[in-house]
């Protein structure tokens, strides 16, 4: 067999719905799951003679996102019409940006498995409007709902810098976290707030010659898992195809595939043999946007610490594992709440355990975030301090946390009222140990025999002491005294 090596090459086209209240060019409310055609007006259903007017917040959200992606912001940007003959956008064109997008040349850092980060280039980000929805359940007809038509849509195009399915998934999750941190999108993939379209091909080296397979674009991906699997599937399929036919990329023979989630495979939709007749031309109904330094500085001031920076800081400064830091920074408010609690004097690792093991569970039941629970970061820091000081056991802290949420009392009050203070008093514990030893001669004999039964018997005695103290004795102290007594 001849020598063959290959590299997966992937770039992403990403569409993000901006979380404004209204559409891009008219005042219709953005609404998901509303009755069809209730959020439409003459502008977004393409009536003649109407004029679009830009939504300022949508533009600023876009600039904010581009800044977070390290893009250059153009001082001058304009709008173009992209010819588009489908009934889900009844103007027969989409308002988009062609030759002068509002931002270009950025990058995003993604974490790799080995702890390093990789920089993925961003070619451009531009603003456009989304189309409506086609529903194909009417036999020879389609039903059209234009509620979504005109939704502000931020399109981000990356360089083909990703070289594995895992990297593609990581970039997608990072971008979701970034737009959520910035508050510019709800970024729910299931709801279509965020759509990822990977462009995939292989660079194959065979007998010293480089071959490139033709590019596949995959659509219809509505989960991170689907993104990762579709890239892996396409890479395998293209390799098989190359080995079988030897076919390589020709100019413009990009193919579009749809992801079939049920059968976990890609399905060919069409071959782009002819150049698309988008026939862009300048949008005469919209005036250009000029960005000045003052406005840009004002938008810049709304940037926050980004999720990966925060995750890296938590891992470095607070000595958390990458995993823990990742869990805490999945949501901005949770991460900031944790950060405040640490700064209020709680031990980072202890707070991390309390938040991830108990806090997230309680928040989940209440249907909110940890930061939205009716407790302060200071109160949680106090709880962590009490555990650290050995005043309460880690297991008691979960119940106290829940009480804090339900009663809004401070942890010290709850501990006092419920008599949960952990006993460290060696004298008192020693007395209990003595009682247990006296009452269980058989277990003591087993424990001191040194045989197989020894470990189990010590555990039993330990449990008896804890029970006697109603869980309030410090296990550390009990264990020390017990082992001393048993010699």
């Amino acid at each position: 067999m001849s020598e063959l090596e290959y590299k997966i090459v992937v770039g992403l086209e990403i569409h993000v719905h901006l979380a404004t209240r209204t559409k891009m060019f008219c005042g219709c409310e953005l609404a998901y799951g509303e009755q069809a055609n209730t959020r439409v007006c003459p502008v977004c259903i393409g009536m003649p003679g109407v004029l679009p007017v830009m939504n300022k917040k949508a533009f600023e959200y876009s600039v904010l996102t581009a800044l977070a992606l390290n893009c250059n912001i153009s001082s001058f940007t304009k709008w173009d019409r992209k010819s588009y003959y489908y009934p889900d956008l009844p103007k027969n064109y989409q308002i988009s940006q062609y030759d002068l997008p509002f931002s270009e040349h950025g990058h995003i850092e993604i974490p790799l498995e080995d702890g390093r980060t990789k920089r993925i280039g961003i070619i451009r980000a531009h603003l456009e409007e989304d189309a409506g929805k086609n529903i194909h359940t009417l036999g020879n007809f389609s039903a059209i709902d234009l509620n979504r038509a005109g939704t502000p849509l931020l399109e981000i195009v990356t360089e083909p810098d990703m070289n594995s399915a895992a990297e593609v998934r990581t970039l997608a999750t990072q971008l979701q976290r970034i737009v959520r941190y910035l508050g510019v999108s709800e970024a729910d993939m299931q709801k279509g707030h965020m759509r990822f379209e990977p462009n995939i091909n292989l660079h194959i080296t065979k007998d010293g010659t480089l071959y490139k397979t033709s590019i596949s674009e995959v659509k219809n991906l509505n989960s991170f898992r689907a993104i990762e699997r579709s890239v892996a599937y396409e890479a395998d399929r293209q390799l098989d195809e190359f080995l079988e036919t030897g076919a390589t990329m020709k100019m413009g023979n990009k193919r579009t595939y749809g992801w079939d989630d049920e059968n976990q495979c890609t399905v060919l939709q069409r071959e782009k043999e002819e150049a698309h007749g988008y026939r862009y031309f300048p949008e005469p109904d919209l005036v250009p946007v000029e960005m000045n330094e003052k406005w840009l500085a004002e938008i810049k001031s709304r940037l926050c610490e980004l999720p990966l920076q925060m995750q890296t800081r938590f891992a470095g400064e607070y000595k958390l594992s990458d995993y823990d830091a990742g869990v805490l920074t999945a949501d901005r408010s949770t991460a900031e709440f944790f950060d405040r609690a640490v700064k209020a004097g709680g031990d980072a690792k202890r707070l991390c355990n309390i938040i991830t093991q108990t806090g997230l569970k309680i928040a989940n039941v209440k249907g909110c975030t940890v930061a939205e629970l009716p407790i302060t970061a200071e109160a949680l820091a106090k709880l962590a301090q009490m555990v650290e000081a050995g005043e309460i056991s880690p297991s008691a802290s979960a119940a106290i946390f829940e009480d804090m949420v339900n009663t809004q009392k401070t942890p010290d009050t709850i501990v006092r009222e419920k008599n949960l203070i952990q006993k460290n008093d060696a004298g008192e514990i020693e007395a209990m140990v003595d009682e247990v030893i006296a009452a269980n001669p058989k277990a003591v004999a087993d424990a001191t025999s040194g045989g197989k039964k020894s470990k189990k018997a010590i555990g039993f005695l330990m449990g008896q002491v804890m029970q006697k103290s109603r869980g309030q004795a410090s296990p550390k102290v009990v264990s020390a005294i017990l082992s001393k007594k048993l010699g």
Partner: protein, 102 residues
């Protein structure tokens, strides 16, 4: 002289525009569109080397509106011009080459 817009270009544009043209119409539009393009080409005689490209004919920019909800149309009014409807949806011939999602 070859026509500026030949019949194959007319057919291509018609296809992209979802227009079903007869052969006679294709021939006629080829002549008419060619005449229009030839007329417009007169502009090429102008020397514009020292003229800045213009993005918009009005000397203004940054016309925005606040992100405030305004009343939408009543669904009945929105659908009133539609040739066909199905419940509260617009009803159109089935889309074969579905490129939705822009």
């Amino acid at each position: 002289m070859a026509k500026k817009i030949d019949e194959s270009q007319v057919r291509q544009v018609a296809k992209l525009s979802r227009l079903d043209l007869t052969d006679d119409e294709v021939a006629r539009f080829s002549i008419e569109l060619s005449a229009i393009v030839e007329y417009i080409e007169k502009l090429n005689e102008l020397d514009v080397d020292s003229v800045e490209p213009l993005a918009h004919c009005l000397p203004i920019g940054n016309v925005f509106r606040a992100d405030e909800i305004r009343p939408s149309l009543d669904t009945e009014a929105a659908l009133s011009n539609a040739p066909q409807r199905h419940d509260e949806y617009f009803k159109v011939p089935k889309i074969l080459d579905d490129n939705s999602g822009a």
